[in-house]
């Protein structure tokens, strides 16, 4: 049915070539990378991946990143759900200003917040903990989640709320048993975006951690200079950071555009 078209194919090739290059490098030994130029690994080896998966200073980076990303996603969605419902159903004092203020935090440059975050979390004794990074990432993820969820919720007719009320459902029962299943795809998309933006962020995560909660992205930048450059291991670490995104994206592929449009397509 669908014939291949030149433009998307060329564009995808353009996207894939640098990723392919990272992948081939991760399968080469350091000697082969620096020794000569070849388009594919002559003698593919998994040694680089083995290094990462057996060395605690490497793999703990992935564990730390995963912990704060999951924490952040749970916190963001939990607080954003009732708020998004309020914004989509009710008018209240200062609602428009509040909504704009939330949005402006999504637009705030992380660089502005780096130093004050460092001081704030140090002073309350949360420096170098997973929860500190998770809370700090709420700055841009909560507004995003509220906005995406509000977009999806506004698509649900209000009659459903009223019918449930007449049927004798209490608000919490209605919300969890009827309303949430109706916007399940919206929740999925919002969770995906929280996951994604927390996963790709480095500046704040790096500033708020030193040892115990150091994210993989920071491990990568700091290990580079330690024992000379081990390009193969660096490339393998890069490949492993792409994997989680590649997995979750498959589940939301049909909704991802709507999410990027903040629930407004």
């Amino acid at each position: 049915m669908s014939k291949l078209r030149l433009t998307p194919v060329l564009y995808i090739v353009f996207l894939m070539v640098p990723i392919y290059w990272l992948l081939t490098m991760s399968l080469k030994t350091n000697a082969e990378i620096l020794g000569g130029f070849s388009l594919w690994p002559k003698d593919p080896t998994l040694a680089n991946f083995r290094t990462i998966l057996t060395d605690a200073s490497w793999y703990s980076g992935y564990i730390n990143s995963t912990i704060y990303v999951v924490l952040n996603t749970i916190i963001s969605i939990t607080v954003a759900l009732p708020a998004a419902y309020a914004f989509s159903r009710y008018r209240f004092l200062g609602d428009k200003h509040l909504f704009f203020w939330l949005l402006s935090n999504r637009m705030a440059p992380p660089a502005v917040f780096v130093l004050p975050f460092f001081q704030l979390y140090s002073s309350i004794g949360l420096f170098d903990t997973h929860i500190a990074v998770a809370l700090a990432h709420c700055l841009f993820n909560v507004p995003l989640a509220v906005w995406i969820l509000e977009g999806f919720m506004s698509g649900v007719p209000k009659e459903i709320d009223e019918t449930a009320q007449i049927d004798g459902y209490s608000f919490p029962a209605f919300f969890t048993r009827i309303f949430m299943p109706l916007i399940a795809s919206g929740i999925g998309v919002a969770a995906f975006f929280c996951f994604m933006f927390s996963w790709v962020e480095l500046l704040i995560a790096r500033t708020l951690t030193s040892v115990d909660a150091k994210p993989i992205a920071a491990v990568m930048t700091r290990t580079v200079s330690a024992s000379g450059l081990d390009w193969g291991v660096l490339a393998a670490a890069g490949v492993l950071t792409i994997v989680p995104g590649a997995i979750v994206i498959w589940f939301v592929r049909n909704h991802i555009a709507k999410g990027f449009a903040l629930g407004r397509v």
């Binding site: 564009y11 996207l15 916190i75 939330l102 890069g238």
Partner: protein, 290 residues
């Protein structure tokens, strides 16, 4: 949707309000506090009023970084928006190819930003990178660590690689909401391809395009990690954008006062743009509902 007035809704919003206030208002107060004081260490602070603001607003350093930033954002918008629209128009309409295209295109968006930087840093190196090696073999004078033009091209191509898919996905979503009947009507009228684009597809994409332009503008305006990993702001200061300059000032040199004043100016610019964004989007929301 008709929304009812209910002040109790504040209780539903309260957790979000407290959480975001904790991560936004307290740090911002710290910044404001620093921006009007000077310190000689020992936690002793002196009131200096607007001195830092005057200094920062008159400094060539900020002007240069601001100029580079505007140029960067302008260039990437001029490339990514038309390219994204064009690719979205050429996307397959149905079948398995759609899913494959969407997933592959979205992949760069999910790569951690420092890894994006690492990928391009490796890819563009003359000794071990495919791009750098190929260019050198072709005899092109290209070295992103030494040459300003090469550094700029690398950073821009990297951003196009990283974010054009966002524009494609948004436009694709806008296009797929157009009913087939529109195209059939256009065919009967004998409308040219351009006329179909101008009068059917472009108006339908207006809303998503507004979002795309503003998201891209804002995210490129605060770009930090990717160019920092690739060029470190160099050669010289050639690719030192606003965020890179700010972090250098605040963490590197620990010039807290000027850095705080810089932050506030920077934040106000972003706030102004966000306000425009918000007004445009809510206005078009209202237009759609009427």
């Amino acid at each position: 949707m008709q929304r009812t007035k209910n002040q109790k809704a504040w209780f539903l919003v309260l957790p979000v309000f407290l959480l975001v206030a904790f991560s936004a208002i307290i740090p911002l107060m710290t910044v404001v506090n620093y921006s009007v004081q000077d310190s000689f260490g020992n936690n002793e602070f002196f009131w200096v009023g607007s001195e830092w603001f005057v200094e920062v607003l008159n400094s060539d350093r900020l002007h240069d970084a601001f100029g580079r930033q505007l140029m960067f954002s302008g260039i990437i918008l001029a490339i990514e928006i038309p390219l994204g629209i064009w690719i979205a128009l050429k996307m397959p309409k149905k079948g398995w190819a759609v899913s494959v295209c969407l997933v592959l295109m979205a992949l760069p968006l999910l790569i951690p930003w420092n890894v994006v930087g690492t990928i391009w840093q490796i890819f563009a190196r003359e000794d071990i990178g495919l791009l750098g090696h190929t260019l050198a073999a072709l005899g092109v004078d290209y070295n992103y660590t030494q040459d300003t033009l090469s550094a700029w091209i690398t950073v821009i191509v990297m951003d196009v690689w990283h974010w054009t898919s966002l524009v494609v996905l948004l436009c694709y979503a806008g296009l797929s909401s157009i009913p087939d009947a529109y195209y059939q009507a256009a065919k009967i009228d004998g409308a040219s391809k351009w006329a179909v684009f101008r009068h059917i597809q472009l108006p339908k994409m207006k809303r998503v395009l507004t979002i795309a332009v503003l998201l891209r503008f804002m995210d490129s305006f605060m770009i930090y990690t990717e160019p920092f990993v690739v060029t470190g702001g160099g050669p010289g200061n050639a690719t030192t954008f606003l965020s890179i300059d700010l972090v250098k000032m605040a963490i590197g040199q620990f010039d807290v006062g000027p850095a705080a004043a810089f932050s506030i100016v920077y934040f106000l610019v972003v706030l102004l743009v966000s306000w425009v964004f918000y007004t445009v989007v809510t206005a078009s929301d209202a237009e759609d509902q009427s």
